[in-house]
């Protein structure tokens, strides 16, 4: 059935269709309507679940971990500072192997205070043992969230997952979405079942006590193996999803890369804009292409290698400043994936704090990459949408 939904409501629909048993949510812009809508449909009886109105995101994740280990499919959603506050419990959920699926509405972390889209929140959590899926549109939000439950709860994976949607660009934009029927989702997604660690007085075990130096490495290695296993499981689940619902989900998506001289790698809602610019420039005879990363954790390095191994010039767009690092995170990963090739890989940072990633900036990136490809130039503008005279911004503080 088609519905007009914004990204947040698409996430709510997915959680409802996944029959989440326990919800613990705390409001934060731009996630708030997820918290609101979930509480509304639980109160009305449309969704059969327990809703815990928690006093912080830290508690939200703590409660989800407790509920998850006690045999309930647990759900929460957050954004920005909320995710940062959860940080400690993000690590705990992964280590305790609680397969929680969490929509994260991407927003910059203060300070400076910003309510708007950026990937710093999820990027700062990237190595803590959660899978991360980045969505391009509201249909993606619904589809990848449903698929994420099946992947996260697979017995060879048992690893939590974030489904990332760009704040406001997706969370608050209404789009036409194909919402699957409950009975089809029920057939696709089996009941939540714990087989390894659980809290059950009839079969007592103590979960998550101290692990000595003789065991810790191996327990962490098990998490690594789960991440390594994830690609096969993701491919299978995406295949089943396609068979059931007729929509193709991807680990990465290549767009007009085959004969492209230069390719831009990017994630999230900006990929729609990039596709538009690719088409526009192709019409002028410029051979440009795009690779969209959907799965960022585990990082699909083999897929990236296969897609880009023959490309000579590649740009990578990070919606995240990487302070003090040589390259921002997506670019770092792409460089690592293409190690051994002679690709010239250029890092671009932009779209911070909600600044629109607009077609003219994407076109500028492609033109720079094409110039590098043809040997006309060597330079690129790595902070692509920076205003002139950036050091004069907020000068009232500068001279205090």
């Amino acid at each position: 059935m088609y519905k007009m939904l914004d990204g947040n409501t698409a996430a709510v629909e997915a959680m409802k269709l996944a029959r989440v048993d326990v919800i613990a949510a705390y409001p934060i812009t731009p996630q708030s309507t997820i918290s609101e809508k979930l509480s509304e449909i639980v109160a009305s009886g449309e969704m059969k679940a327990k809703y815990i109105r928690v006093e912080s995101e830290h508690t939200a994740m703590s409660a989800c971990i407790g509920a998850s280990l006690t045999g309930s499919r647990a759900g929460t959603a957050t954004s920005s500072n909320g995710l940062a506050l959860m940080n400690e419990m993000i690590v705990a959920a992964a280590g305790i192997r609680a397969p929680i699926v969490m929509p994260v509405v991407n927003r910059a972390i203060a300070t400076p205070w910003s309510l708007w889209c950026e990937h710093m929140d999820t990027m700062s959590q990237r190595d803590l043992g959660w899978m991360q899926f980045f969505t391009q549109n509201c249909q993606d939000v619904l589809d990848y969230t449903i698929a994420a439950y099946k992947i996260a709860e697979n017995k060879d994976i048992m690893t939590p997952a974030m489904v990332c949607l760009d704040g406001f660009f997706l969370s608050h934009s209404m789009q036409k979405i194909n919402v699957p029927a409950q009975e089809d989702v029920d057939k696709f997604l089996p009941q939540y079942e714990l087989t390894n660690s659980y809290l059950n007085p009839q079969d007592p075990m103590f979960v998550s006590n101290v692990v000595g130096m003789n065991d810790y490495t191996e327990v962490k290695y098990q998490q690594k193996v789960a991440m390594d296993n994830a690609f096969d499981v993701i491919e299978n689940v995406f295949g089943e999803f396609y068979a059931k619902f007729g929509r193709k989900l991807n680990i990465i998506e290549e767009y007009k890369t085959e004969d492209a001289d230069v390719v831009l790698v990017c994630m999230g809602s900006m990929t729609g804009t990039v596709k538009y610019v690719v088409d526009k420039m192709r019409a002028k005879g410029k051979k440009v292409g795009m690779v969209k990363l959907v799965v960022f954790r585990p990082f699909p390095y083999k897929y990236i290698y296969e897609a880009l191994k023959d490309k000579k010039v590649i740009g990578v767009f990070d919606r995240n400043s990487c302070l003090g690092g040589q390259y921002p995170p997506v670019c770092t990963e792409v460089i690592a994936a293409l190690k051994g090739t002679d690709a010239d890989i250029r890092d671009y940072v932009g779209g911070l704090g909600g600044r629109d990633v607009n077609p003219s900036n994407i076109e500028k990136i492609f033109n720079e990459l094409l110039d590098i490809h043809s040997g006309k130039s060597y330079k690129h503008t790595n902070w692509i949408d920076l205003k002139e005279n950036p050091m004069d911004s907020r000068e009232v503080f500068k001279y205090v």
């Binding site: 109105r53 508690t59 006690t70 309930s72 007085p201 007592p204 101290v210």
Partner: protein
């Protein structure tokens, strides 16, 4: 990977690695005795984490988990909601945390749990400092007690946990002491039977942190009550019952002279301490019996 060996008496194994004379271990045994096997227990890192053992070895024959330091109450809330969603109204969800994990870093999470009315039994074993990390001051450390972060003595008095819970109008809260096990067990049972959040705050003499003789644990628990340092009372459906009032308060000397943590207290400070203890005892009784 977690093996539970089921051949000792009671829920808590013998021979666990608590310090000699540890009051927390005695409290834990009382808690398990009263609550039985149908429980899920949540323990944060701290002294009680010793009971959970290490790696494949575990001292507790009950379903439980170690949470993080500040989220005992929130983890319990999640477990309770999960059991409720499965129609399980018989399993007791119990949080068992120290004073640091309760009164300092865990206060927000506990406040949330109580305010929401989540049916969780929360027990705070209060040994009055971060003992497991090496005797650092917490907000439960008493006036002038010397700790590794305040070696000259803490200049402020301790936080009133049950008072905070009462401000939430918690259905059941009580203080308890190890020198009166019958009273303690009765309170645990009452808390278990409460349809909503419940809290028991137990003063736990700690030979390691209080620098007292392990043989004096019960003596100290009794002295705390008889000197007015620790008041035994219950708050039940809005009504307060003071469980015990000494006919006459014993001098503070009887309590502090047995403890190394008050060794540096001067005569002048001792007088000041005596004044504060007496004043706060009288104020508290007056307030509770109002």
């Amino acid at each position: 990977m977690y093996e539970i060996i089921k051949d000792s008496k009671g829920t808590l194994n013998h021979g666990i690695s608590a310090c000699a004379g540890c009051g927390m271990e005695l409290l834990a045994r009382c808690v398990f005795d009263v609550l039985g096997e149908d429980i899920i227990i949540v323990i944060p890192p701290g002294c009680a984490a010793l009971l959970t053992g290490m790696g494949a070895e575990c001292g507790i024959k009950a379903a439980g988990m170690m949470c993080n330091l500040e989220n005992t109450a929130s983890t319990c809330s999640g477990i309770r909601a999960s059991l409720d969603s499965q129609g399980n109204d018989h399993t007791t969800v119990v949080g068992f945390a120290g004073d640091g994990g309760t009164l300092d870093i865990g206060l927000q999470s506990l406040s949330g749990m109580i305010e929401r009315g989540d049916k969780v039994l929360y027990i705070c074993y209060d040994n009055e400092a971060y003992m497991n990390t090496g005797i650092q001051s917490s907000s439960a450390t008493p006036f002038l007690a010397s700790t590794t972060t305040q070696p000259a003595g803490k200049p402020t008095v301790k936080k009133d946990l049950v008072g905070i819970a009462m401000a939430h109008d918690i259905p059941y809260a009580a203080t308890a002491s190890l020198h009166n096990i019958a009273d303690l067990k009765k309170k645990i049972q009452k808390a278990k039977d409460t349809d909503g959040p419940s809290l028991i705050h137990v003063l736990i003499p700690c030979p390691t942190g209080w620098r007292s003789d392990p043989a004096d644990t019960i003596t100290l628990a009794r002295a705390a009550v008889n000197t007015g340092v620790w008041v035994l009372y219950e708050y039940e459906n809005g009504e307060v019952t003071v469980n015990y009032k000494p006919k006459e308060l014993k001098p503070i000397e009887e309590y502090i002279s047995l403890q190394g943590r008050f060794k540096k207290v001067t005569e002048e400070e001792k007088a000041q301490m005596q004044k504060i203890v007496k004043q706060s005892y009288e104020r508290k009784i007056a307030k509770l019996e109002k």
